[in-house]
């Protein structure tokens, strides 16, 4: 019975999407495909953000609400390095590495001392996000910054129906997919990845079997934070970033992991695809209500599958 209802709802949702496509594509195919592409690239950024967030949560039960601040800080640091050296790749690397180091330090200096107290850890990350946001505002002011990627990739490629589309955005999507594949390889095929997966399932058992869990934790936090920085600096080449960006980005990551399922990297991929596409279409077709659509998506997932699409039972 319940299953039948669920299928009914899924069929209805798919039918609504198809009806929308049938209604809109003949009217303005360019806008539709353009939104689809925008959604895909937005999903790429969200995946970079949310995969780290979800990994850290899955393993350490640490809801890192400073994840958005790390995104923004990574972007700023990447910008500074790029500005000094004029080498874009160095800026990108700096964004990733600086945040990875910050994450490592945080895990070693703060979070390992409050292991298991998930509420307290979350509050610490909230405090960190306030402090970091204010320091960034202090140092960089309220101006918007942007990185200029090399000319080679900041052109546009011809795409049928739309005309042209930013090469940089497509590369961004490719990077996100590459990171996803690498992450999958790392988790599924390496020894450390195996430990991380074991830790997500049962931390106590992992420790009991002689693994240095603190090392695994620190490494995971470094990767998660680094990915946030990478997302920041990469997106900083596409659109300007300014104070306050951290909040919007954090909301995106939260929605993605709530929809996709906490602790699941595949869930993060599914969630980012869903949220990214919904948000892009919302912005294109109903700009003043766009947030409502993503929110409805979250509420619908929570109503039917509280643990998220691919989340394990809480």
């Amino acid at each position: 019975m319940a299953r039948a209802w669920r299928w009914l709802w899924i069929v209805l949702a798919v039918a609504a999407v198809l009806a929308f496509a049938v209604w809109q594509i003949p009217q303005n195919p360019g806008k539709f495909v353009f939104s689809l592409l925008n959604g895909a690239t937005l999903a790429g950024i969200y995946f970079l953000l949310a995969s780290g967030f979800t990994l850290v949560f899955g393993l350490m039960r640490n809801v890192n609400l400073a994840h958005g601040s790390m995104y923004l800080l990574g972007a700023y640091i990447g910008w500074v390095v790029w500005d000094r050296t004029d080498v874009w790749l160095l800026g990108v690397a700096a964004g990733f590495l600086s945040m990875a180091v910050l994450g490592l330090l945080l895990q070693i200096a703060v979070f390992r001392w409050m292991q298991g107290e998930d509420m307290r850890q979350t509050m610490v990350t909230i405090g960190l996000s306030i402090v970091l946001a204010d320091i960034m505002l202090w140092v960089f002011g309220g101006l918007a910054y942007q990185l200029d990627p090399p000319r080679l990739i900041s052109t546009s490629v011809p795409i049928p129906v739309v005309g042209g589309y930013s090469t940089y955005k497509l590369i961004l999507l490719a990077v996100a997919i590459a990171v996803g594949v690498l992450l999958w390889f790392f988790l599924a095929r390496t020894r450390i990845g195996m430990m991380i997966r074991a830790g997500v399932d049962d931390r106590g058992m992992l420790q009991a079997s002689g693994t240095n869990v603190q090392l695994v934790f620190a490494l995971t936090f470094a990767v998660g934070a680094g990915l946030a920085g990478l997302a920041g600096v990469l997106n900083g080449g596409e659109e300007a970033f300014k104070p306050g960006e951290d909040v919007g980005v954090l909301l995106g990551a939260l929605l993605v992991v709530i929809v996709g399922g906490m602790g699941s990297v595949v869930g993060a991929a599914v969630g980012s695809a869903l949220i990214g596409v919904i948000q892009a279409f919302g912005l294109a077709y109903a700009p003043t209500y766009s947030i409502v659509f993503t929110f409805v998506a979250m509420a619908a997932v929570l109503a039917f599958r509280p643990q998220g699409i691919l989340g394990a039972k809480a």
């Binding site: 307290r120 306030i130 320091i135 909040v247 003043t288 993503t294 809480a314």
Partner: protein, 379 residues
């Protein structure tokens, strides 16, 4: 082993290597300590229990609060006193949820903001979108509307537990912020509603310092008493049961989710009244009233004071408001967030149960010292 986490209580999961829980939630309030021995307290005519619970210190604090506006300049009455009581009331709703229900919701300011928005949309303000209805109609609709919204938020977030709640309520709050920010046809976008008129009733302009202070004091006092009462009422006791061990409560036949949703609704009522006061105090409601900073400020206030007692949020609010007004004299004008964020970090890192916990620890130290010197062995 995973039970502690599964239990959904916000009490941290006690895993094998975890240190003892530091973020403690209050134990169910014990019976009020009696003065002297029970024998001395049994006079011929018995005082009702609620009267007997009143201590001298309660009366002193109340008298001081009533006398306060008559001895300080209007700035302190309105900007410090009124704001402290208003923010304290909103934070009290979080203290109630977190302290007695084990639910940390970040959407309490959103509920308050909904009350403010509904009042501004229906009442009269400087924005043409307002309907211009009488203040009491707007107020009477704003409070149920916000309470209903709080109930819906609760209904949505009780599907998940513990640490998930904080994320979902944060997402709800942020989504509401982006909605009012983006939308111009209903919420007037970035500007929001300016020059919202506070009521002028019974010949009193309620935004004047003295009336506003006493209005806020009355509401805050009412909220405080309500929380104190609920904490000992059957509903409150059951709610504390769901906080400490939801599975056992479910096994005993209690509907855990229904209790939690009811807690959201009640907290929503407190936040709605606070939100109404806040919109009268600020005379405006805009996306800035419900942005992430505002949501988190409520958490900061509640955590600063401590979740252990309903007086906590008011102490936290007093510190917050004083810092907000005077920290700019000590340091750079724009670095308030750094100060408050740093202070929040210090509290969370070193005294997770807030200033109240600090105070309790101090008192316990003295009490044990007393007990040692007292031949009768204390109370």
């Amino acid at each position: 082993m995973s039970d502690g986490r599964r239990a959904g209580s916000l009490a941290p999961a006690r895993t094998a290597w975890s240190r003892p829980a530091a973020l403690k939630w209050p134990a169910p309030p014990a019976a009020p300590p009696r003065l002297g021995t029970p024998g001395a307290m049994a006079p011929a005519r018995r005082l009702p229990e609620w009267l007997a619970a009143i201590r001298v210190r309660h009366l002193v604090v109340l008298a001081a609060l009533i006398a306060y506006p008559f001895v300080v300049p209007p700035f302190f009455t309105f900007q410090i006193g009124g704001q402290t009581l208003t923010l304290g009331l909103i934070a009290l709703s979080l203290t109630f949820l977190a302290g007695y229900g084990g639910i940390v919701s970040l959407a309490q300011m959103t509920v308050a903001g909904i009350a403010g928005y509904v009042y501004a949309m229906l009442g009269s303000s400087g924005t043409p979108l307002s309907s211009g209805w009488p203040w009491w109609v707007a107020a009477l609709l704003a409070i149920p509307a916000a309470t209903l919204a709080a109930t819906l938020i609760g209904w949505l977030s009780v599907r998940t537990e513990g640490i998930y709640t904080i994320m979902i309520t944060l997402a709800v709050g942020m989504a509401f912020y982006f909605l009012v920010h983006q939308n111009y046809s209903i919420f007037n976008g970035f500007t929001g509603f300016q020059a919202v008129r506070a009521p002028e009733a019974f010949g009193v302009h309620w935004r004047d310092p003295l009336p506003f202070y006493f209005l806020a004091l009355a509401c805050a006092f009412g909220g405080y008493l309500l929380v104190k009462y609920i904490a000992r009422a059957p509903f409150g006791i059951a709610l504390q049961g769901t906080r400490d061990n939801p599975r056992r409560m479910a096994a005993l036949g209690f509907n855990v989710k229904a209790h939690r949703i009811a807690a959201y609704a009640l907290a929503g009522l407190l936040a709605a009244v606070g939100g109404l006061l806040l919109v009268w105090y600020n005379a405006l409601v805009s996306p800035g009233s419900v942005d992430t900073k505002a949501l988190i400020n409520v958490l900061i206030i509640a955590v600063l004071g401590g979740f252990a007692h309903p007086i906590g949020p008011f102490i936290g609010a007093a510190i917050f408001v004083l810092l907000q007004n005077f920290a700019i004299d000590l340091i750079d004008r724009d670095r308030f967030n750094l100060v408050i964020g740093g202070m929040f970090l210090l509290i969370v890192l070193f005294s997770p149960d807030g200033l109240l916990g600090w105070w309790t620890r101090l008192r316990r130290r003295f009490e044990t010292a007393d007990a040692r010197s007292d031949p009768r062995g204390g109370r």
